[in-house]
């Protein structure tokens, strides 16, 4: 495996995370560079994700690199039954770096073992999406000025939402206090609570979205209808976990609201004008973080 790969957020140490966030800040100050001149990056999207692909390809283009690849596996040899192994071997002949998204869990880890090139995971099924986590971290870092000792409130689908699990793991380096707010059907899985307990991280669990006065970050997630067996229950929960502007009265001035987007109904439109709403800027931060991750994978960041 190439040591420069980024498959899971746990591949990065605390120091590495901080180095990437500092680099992201430099790319934000000056996004257009020639650092990737002469480099070819393959973006292999075995499942379509326009949002993520455009962010990666913009990052590569702004660094002066060239892009090859595909945006949907439907017209490639994969659809003719070629194994992932063989596709990765073939592409490894042409590119300097592979960015891949795949519908199956664990596909990126396997690709990183097959290829001698660094692999950046742009999402493998419902498993990992580490650049999403890094852009969340960068958004927190930028708005709070630090990652240390923050009160992080996670709201909504904490059971299936991979973004909150990865964020929890990544934040564990920085002495956070977590508040998990979710309906009983969607509460934080036991393994993550055990992880907190083992690492001396304080957390509490709540059912209701209220008493937000202590929060530094309010991390909202999508509550999806298909997660519920009982549709009546979904209708009830959907309204309980919807953030409205009036609920932000009495919260800290420095509170910021994050959401991985796209939102469905978890954040009322009347929140958008509040300066505490940060979800649109958050998405833009993905570009700088991906510039930093790509540069690092190609050995272009000074250690």
């Amino acid at each position: 495996m190439n040591a420069k790969s980024l498959v899971s957020i746990t591949d990065y140490s605390k120091e590495k995370i901080l180095r990437i966030l500092d680099a992201a800040a430099e790319f934000e100050a000056r996004p257009n560079r020639e650092t990737l001149k002469g480099k070819v990056v393959a973006t292999l999207f075995f499942e379509p994700s326009t949002r993520t692909r455009l962010s990666f390809e913009t990052a590569i283009n702004r660094l002066g690199g060239r892009v090859i690849g595909f945006s949907d596996a439907a017209n490639t040899s994969t659809s003719k039954g070629e194994t992932l192994h063989d596709t990765i071997m073939m592409v490894s002949n042409y590119a300097d770096l592979i960015v891949m998204r795949h519908p199956l869990d664990g596909a990126a880890r396997y690709a990183s073992e097959v290829s001698s090139l660094p692999i950046i995971n742009a999402g493998d099924g419902s498993n990992q999406h580490p650049t999403q986590t890094l852009l969340d971290l960068y958004s927190i870092y930028k708005t709070q000025g630090t990652l240390e000792n923050l009160n992080i409130y996670m709201v909504g689908d904490l059971k299936y939402g991979r973004t909150v699990h990865s964020l929890l793991m990544a934040m564990s380096h920085f002495h956070p206090t977590f508040t998990f707010i979710a309906p009983s059907e969607l509460e934080m899985p036991e393994q993550y609570k055990i992880f907190c307990w083992e690492n001396g991280i304080e957390y509490r669990e709540k059912r209701d979205l209220d008493e937000l006065g202590e929060a530094d970050i309010l991390y909202m997630t999508r509550v999806q209808r298909e997660r519920f067996q009982d549709l009546m229950e979904y209708e009830r929960v959907k309204d309980v976990y919807c953030l409205k502007n009036s609920m932000l009265d009495g919260t800290k001035d420095t509170l910021r609201i994050l959401h991985p987007l796209p939102r469905v109904g978890e954040i009322d439109m009347d929140v958008d004008a509040n300066e505490k709403a940060y979800y649109f800027q958050q998405a833009k931060n993905g570009l700088y973080v991906r510039q930093a991750v790509i540069s690092d994978a190609l050995g272009m960041l000074e250690d």
Binding site: D105, R109, Y110
Partner: protein, 153 residues
């Protein structure tokens, strides 16, 4: 019944290995993991034998065969309580507990239907995260499986 009489239930061997204290329902999985179907050694299998410790147990006697630790520890996932008796000249010269390995390579199948290992011709790999409760984590999809969810590949 005393141990010595119980042993009589299955023929004694002169030299070889006796694997004892296998849970009855896992006996044939042990047979499969050790690939005994393709062994030419003399093999005696007893199952549903009464055991005070575990209700019903299975036992396997393999003549003239000794296993390397790596080889035998593969059965840890299905038979963590198994005891290995090394027999020389009709006597037990060594009793060994199965050691639970840190990693399990290509023995069990991932229970996540969307795991890459269930779609590619490749080896499976699990990290044993709790040796007491026998909880494993897929190296690829990162799913966590408990002992009752473990299935042999």
């Amino acid at each position: 019944m005393e141990d010595s009489k119980k042993e009589m239930l299955v023929a004694a061997i002169e030299n070889g290995t006796v694997i004892d204290h296998i849970a009855s329902e896992k006996l044939f999985e042990v047979v499969s993991i050790l690939n005994l179907a393709h062994s030419s050694s003399e093999i005696t299998i007893g199952n549903n034998l009464k055991s005070e410790k575990q209700g019903a147990k299975g036992i396997i006697k393999i003549a003239d065969t000794y296993f390397a630790p790596d080889e035998i520890n593969r059965i840890a996932l299905v038979a963590p309580n198994a005891v290995l008796n090394i027999i020389k000249d009709y006597k037990v010269v060594e009793k060994r507990k199965i050691e639970i390995p840190d990693h399990v390579i290509d023995i069990i199948r991932c229970f996540n239907p969307k795991c890459i290992t269930n779609h590619e011709p490749m080896q499976t790999r699990f990290d044993v995260i709790d040796k007491q409760k026998m909880i494993v984590k897929c190296h690829y999809c990162e799913s966590v499986m408990e002992q009752n969810q473990i299935k042999i590949k």
